[in-house]
């Protein structure tokens, strides 16, 4: 069924069609429509789920963890300050191997209060053991929620499905809502091997000595490493059933490109327009949009960048005192594999400042003019 819906509602429909059983959430701009629609669905029984209307995001995640441990499929959504408040429990989710799926709307961190998009909220959580999917269309958001449940429940690793504030969260697009029966076939009910029940009393997460803790963390990493192959496999399976491939990255004209832009989220679709225009001007440009940030697709990126002469990584985020975070990650992936390939790092669009095709052309021109980066990071469009 085709529907015209906003990005936030794509999350709600994704949670609904995946048959989420327990939802716990707290409102925050620009996430509110996600939970408004879900609470309506729960109220009119379109969705057979319990909705716990908690008093904070911290409690939202805590409730999700309890429900997930009991064996229920569990969903929540938040943004920025809410995600930061959850931080402690994000570790709890991955360490406890609880496959919660969460929507996060990328919003800038205060102060000053900003409701507009950048990625510092979710990227500040990159080391918490969650898979992270950065989406660039409403269809991708909806499809990824379904896939995320499948992958998370197999690996017992939680997932964050991420979309830009307003640029995607409040933008209406045509979305195909898959048939329930087919989704049920793709995503069978959540049946964990071990869960909390008086039938089989276990203590979960108790005091763990150095004798065991290390191995438990090794297993989290191993699960993450298995993640890429599983995301690829489930992405192909999705394509077979629904006609849409869910990739790890999106490669737009990178094959023969001399200059490759690396982007994420909605700026990835803007970059495609810029690439096409640059191509018309005779510049062989390409765009590599990274969708899956955790687990990080080292080999895929190395492979695509192999033929490039220059690479420009565009970050809508910054690790203060260091680089943009996608730039850090791409650099670390290319170490020992780059053959001197110049990698440029750009910071753009913080706090919801627009990133337009012109922004990318400015970035492309800068990278083409210089032989190699002359500074650690280059700020685009900032008034110094």
């Amino acid at each position: 069924m085709r529907k015209v819906i906003m990005g936030n509602h794509a999350l709600s429909y994704g949670a609904m069609i995946s048959r989420s059983q327990v939802i716990a959430a707290y409102p925050i701009t620009p996430q509110t429509q996600v939970v408004e629609l879900l609470s309506e669905m729960c109220a009119d029984k379109t969705l057979d789920a319990k909705f716990i209307k908690v008093e904070s995001e911290h409690s939202a995640m805590a409730a999700c963890l309890g429900a997930s441990l009991a064996g229920a499929r569990t969903f929540t959504a938040t943004s920025a300050q809410g995600l930061a408040l959850m931080h402690e429990l994000l570790h709890w989710a991955s360490g406890g191997r609880l496959p919660v799926v969460m929507g996060n709307i990328n919003r800038s961190m205060a102060p000053g209060w900003s409701i507009w998009s950048d990625q510092n909220d979710s990227l500040s959580q990159r080391d918490t053991g969650w898979m992270q999917f950065y989406c660039c269309s409403n269809q991708e958001v909806l499809d990824t929620v379904i896939q995320a449940f499948k992958v998370s429940e197999k690996l017992l690793i939680p997932s964050m499905v991420i979309l830009d504030a307003f640029t995607l969260s409040h933008t209406y697009e045509v979305v195909d809502l898959p048939e329930q029966e087919k989704v049920d076939e793709y995503l069978p009910p959540f049946k964990p091997l071990i869960r909390i029940t008086p039938d089989e009393p276990h203590a979960f997460g108790g005091l763990t000595s150095p004798e065991h803790y290390f191995e438990l963390r090794y297993k989290v990493q191993k699960a993450m490493e298995e993640g890429l192959a599983l995301i690829e496999e489930t992405g192909r399976e999705f394509e077979k059933m629904f006609g849409r491939y869910l990739g790890i990255v999106e490669d737009h004209r990178c094959e023969d490109a001399e200059l490759i832009l690396i982007t994420s989220g909605t700026m990835g679709s803007t970059a495609k327009i810029a690439v096409d225009e640059l191509r018309e001007e005779g510049i062989k440009a390409g765009n590599l949009r990274i969708k899956v940030f955790r687990p990080f697709p080292f080999d895929i990126i190395r492979n695509i960048l192999k033929g490039a002469q220059k690479v420009a990584v565009v970050d809508r985020n910054i690790s203060y005192g260091h680089h943009g975070m996608f730039y850090q990650e791409v650099k670390s992936a290319m170490y020992g594999h780059s053959n001197g390939l110049p990698l440029f790092g750009f910071i753009a669009g913080l706090g919801g400042r627009d990133i337009t095709p012109t922004t990318f052309k400015e970035i492309a021109n800068y990278a083409l003019e210089k032989e190699k980066p002359e500074e650690e990071i280059t700020w685009i469009g900032v008034n110094r």
Binding site: Q21, I52, W92, G206
Partner: protein
């Protein structure tokens, strides 16, 4: 063995708590768990945040309890229980009693926000706070459950605690939940009866159990039961119930209300107090007691 006529037991014989736990000698929290589990039975899930009991239970992969435990984050006991309850119901288990089992720090201080949320929604869980009146697991730092006058490592003798214990029952009563009760490990039958009663009520139930801590109170392990009885006899910790935040019922009215001085005298944490300090404490206990009697009289 000869068949002997034995006294009728006042508590069930079945134990869901085993030996091998890691509690200190004379630990009141351990007695609280043992009695509570006798009333709760096997169809129980516990959510235990950071507190003495997250250690007492035993290290991974061991557990001294025959019921499952979710060791949850410090400030999340109440809402973790709500989540477990919702999850169990969605997978077809509507019978299991889900219990949040937290210390006073996890209840009066860091966990009060989540607890208030749960109580306001009247989520169907049983919250039990075992109160040893300070952060005992970290080595006796003051909490908002620490009484006026007490020494702790963060309220040293020269600057002992000069604020009264938070009135948690009043706060919970303000949420208009179906059931609130206080209990003491010195009165096991009363404690057992209240857990049993709370177990069968729907909605948020709050139980506050007085649980002496010889290590932190500088009292003798063999005085734990004595202290847990004295505190009721002198009305410092009266045993009562509140229904729907309004209907108060006193369970044990001491025949003769004892002065608090003997109770303070066998605890090192009050050793520094002057006569005037003790007189002040007595006055506060009396005032609170009179207020409670009035609340109970109304009914």
């Amino acid at each position: 063995m000869n068949k002997q006529k034995t006294m009728k037991l006042s508590l069930p014989e079945e134990e869901l708590m085993n030996s091998g736990h890691l509690a200190c000698q004379g630990c009141g929290a351990t007695l609280a768990m043992r009695y509570a589990l006798k009333a709760l039975g096997k169809r129980t899930v516990l959510c235990i945040p950071a507190c003495c009991w997250s250690v007492i239970d035993g290290p991974f992969p061991y557990s001294s309890l025959d019921v499952p435990i979710f060791h949850c984050a410090f400030e999340t006991a109440a809402v973790s229980a709500s989540g477990v309850k919702a999850g169990l119901e969605m997978v077809g288990d509507t019978e299991t009693t889900v219990v949040a089992w937290a210390g006073d720090g996890g209840t009066f201080d860091i966990g009060i926000q989540a607890l208030s949320g749960v109580a306001e929604r009247n989520d169907n869980i049983l919250y039990i706070c075992y109160d040893n009146e300070a952060y005992m697991n970290t080595g006796t730092q003051r909490s908002s459950a620490t009484p006026w006058g007490a020494w702790t490592t963060t309220t040293p003798v020269k600057h002992f605690k000069e604020r009264p214990k938070k009135d948690m029952e009043a706060i919970m009563a303000a949420h208009r939940i179906p059931y609130i009760a206080t209990a003491s490990v010195g009165y096991p039958e009363d404690l057992f009866k209240k857990v049993k009663k709370a177990k069968d009520i729907q909605g948020t139930r709050f139980l506050h159990i007085y649980a002496p801590c010889p290590t932190g109170w500088k009292s003798r392990p063999e005085d734990t039961i004595k202290l847990a009885r004295m505190v009721v006899q002198n009305s410092t910790f009266p045993l009562y119930e509140i229904e729907w935040g309004e209907k108060y019922k006193l369970n044990i009215k001491p025949r003769e209300k004892k002065p608090i001085i003997d109770y303070l005298g066998i605890q090192g944490r009050f050793r520094h107090l002057t006569k005037e300090d003790i007189a002040h404490m007595q006055e506060e206990v009396d005032k609170k007691w009179e207020r409670l009697l009035k609340q109970c009289e109304v009914n």
